[in-house]
């Protein structure tokens, strides 16, 4: 359920990036406070482990198709929330760069969806609340399943919200939710049981790996749990506040709802000449022109393509093909130039 750049608007993507960067800075600061040196190689290698583990597949019971693990909750259990969050973030960064999962703008959203919920909500509020030291394996199973399911549900719901707020999809909100949440419930249940299985198995062979971190965390978790929640709340408010300015100057969701009200192409043209000129000027000066219209005024000028006049649409078609051709020629030109310079 990686978000993709193509499904995000700049405002939604930017807001989530801001929140994610804040969380990264916070987690890094927390780790620095009581850094165990041994954690540095462990974190890095466990990040690589996630990739390696994702190469191993299993048969999803009842379906016959195969799946692999996500591993967010497992990392949180092994490393604690702060270190796990940074590991998840770096795994996603590498996935975005090397495997083209989503893209650079969506990276902020992906770290948010797959990192924040398991590490800062599901782990401290569910897993940690249920599993104390020397817990029975049944209890660990229950806590892992609950934690993974809730973390994934929050993530999936966020994907729905983010896509919907970006206004790219035509899917109605409720259908979208019905599509996303049950599938992720099933995924979450399987992942939860697998996570529990791994934790329990590792505990029998090398109890220190699981217990060790647990002991460290029990010492620190008392007050910090509340702190995490408070800080997250503050972060959310800050991110919201900083970007509400953007949101009000660049009404993204609003534009979309206006479209919904008017029905797309038949939007009434009711601008006069002066407004047209002003608009043109505004269009040329704004960085993100389509976002610079105040909500109610001329959101109707938005799409430049769906002008129904057949003349312009045809010229758009011609122009598009021409430009693509020019780009290809440009590319070939550079190639030739390179080869030429190589020879001399």
């Amino acid at each position: 359920m990686h978000m993709a750049d193509a499904l995000l608007s700049p405002v939604v993507g930017g807001t989530l990036w801001a929140g994610t960067l804040g969380a990264i800075a916070y987690a890094a600061k927390k780790l620095k406070e009581k850094m165990d040196e041994r954690m540095i190689p462990l974190m890095g290698v466990l990040g690589a482990f996630i990739f390696a583990a994702q190469m191993i597949n299993f048969t999803i019971p009842g379906t016959g198709s195969s799946g692999h693990i996500g591993g967010g909750m497992l990392l949180a259990i092994l490393l604690g929330p702060y270190a796990a969050f940074l590991v998840i973030a770096s795994v996603l960064i590498i996935q975005a760069l090397f495997f083209a999962d989503g893209g650079l703008l969506a990276l902020g959203a992906n770290i948010w969806n797959l990192g924040i919920y398991p590490c800062f909500i599901a782990y401290p509020l569910i897993y940690r609340a249920l599993v104390k030291q020397n817990a029975l394996s049944r209890r660990i199973t229950l806590a892992s399943v609950l934690g993974v399911v809730i973390g994934l549900q929050l993530g999936a719901f966020s994907v729905v919200l983010e896509t919907k707020l970006s206004g790219i999809t035509e899917l109605p909100f409720d259908t979208f939710v019905i599509l996303m949440l049950p599938t992720h419930l099933a995924i979450g249940l399987i992942e939860g049981f697998i996570t529990a299985g791994i934790v329990n198995y590792v505990r029998t062979l090398r109890p220190d790996i699981v217990e060790n971190v647990e002991a460290v965390k029990v010492l620190s978790s008392g007050g910090s749990l509340k702190k995490i929640v408070v800080v997250m709340a503050i972060l959310a408010v800050l991110a919201g506040g900083a970007f509400s300015w953007f949101a009000s100057t660049y009404p993204d969701g609003l534009e979309w709802s206006i479209e919904k009200i008017y029905g797309k192409p038949e939007i009434p043209e009711r601008s006069n000449v002066i407004a047209e000129i002003l608009l043109e000027i505004q269009k040329k000066t704004a960085i993100l022109p389509d976002y610079s219209f105040p909500a109610g005024s001329k959101g109707d000028r938005e799409p430049s393509w769906p002008a129904i006049d057949p003349g312009t649409s045809l010229s758009g078609l011609f122009g598009g093909i021409m430009v693509l051709g020019l780009v290809v020629i440009f590319g070939i030109g550079i190639k030739v130039l390179r080869r030429f310079r190589h020879r001399t």
């Binding site: 978000m3 990040g47 029905g263 389509d290």
Partner: protein, 269 residues
Amino acid sequence: MTFDTEYFNAGYLDSLSYKDTFVHRLDPRTKILVSFIFILFVVSFPKYELSGLMPFFIYPVFLLTAGDIPLRAIAKKVLFISPFAIFIGIFNPLLDTNVMLTPFGVPVTGGWISFLSIIVKFILTVSTALLLIAVTSFPGICEALARMKLPRILVIQLLFLYRYLFVLMEEALRMLRAREARSFKKRGKEIKTFIRLISVLLLRTVERAERIYQAMLSRGFRGEIRVLKRHKLRLQDILFVIFSVTIFYIFRNFNIVSFIGETLSRSIR
């Protein structure tokens, strides 16, 4: 096995990043910045925009050709990895059936246009991300992130992850091979076996981390890892940023596509 090929692809992208061309020599910070701005410009287009996106192909094409990257390496990945965008986008043609234009008498609905727009945006943004790594190298990106004041621990973590990525992937491949050699048809892939496999891999990983830590200690590790700074901001970096952002701005705000199209159709007439 798709992950097999993906794995080798990752190594391949990495090997491309050691070429020495104009774009490879640019400061990684400028490339990250310009690529990010590029993506912001691309996704800022409204959902029915299609023709206006076309000029933006110039940036990935520039990175591809000036960086001497084989087209096939990028195209293959972009084509294969897009299930989510397509999954979300494919509903648009079904739900939005307003006919928006009829070129040559073929009715085209708004849904198809917005779907194509998603696909084009997807190709642009994803190919840019892949090309960024292909012309920058991962250590270069990490250097840039460190100098852009991202938390040190994250950067160190990224460097570590990258260093051991291939090692552990090979370990996983060996385990997969062993599983395949010992099981027939669909057997051996049950969840129970899977949990054992992953657990063993995890234990090996933790033990490896312990060995690595010992090795680091014996080489003088004191909790601090320095990131090599190899790049300096030069004039051509600044020019690259200014030049590309100006071009993106022009492409975004002036409808050159319809201008070219109009002159073309006028001259045909």
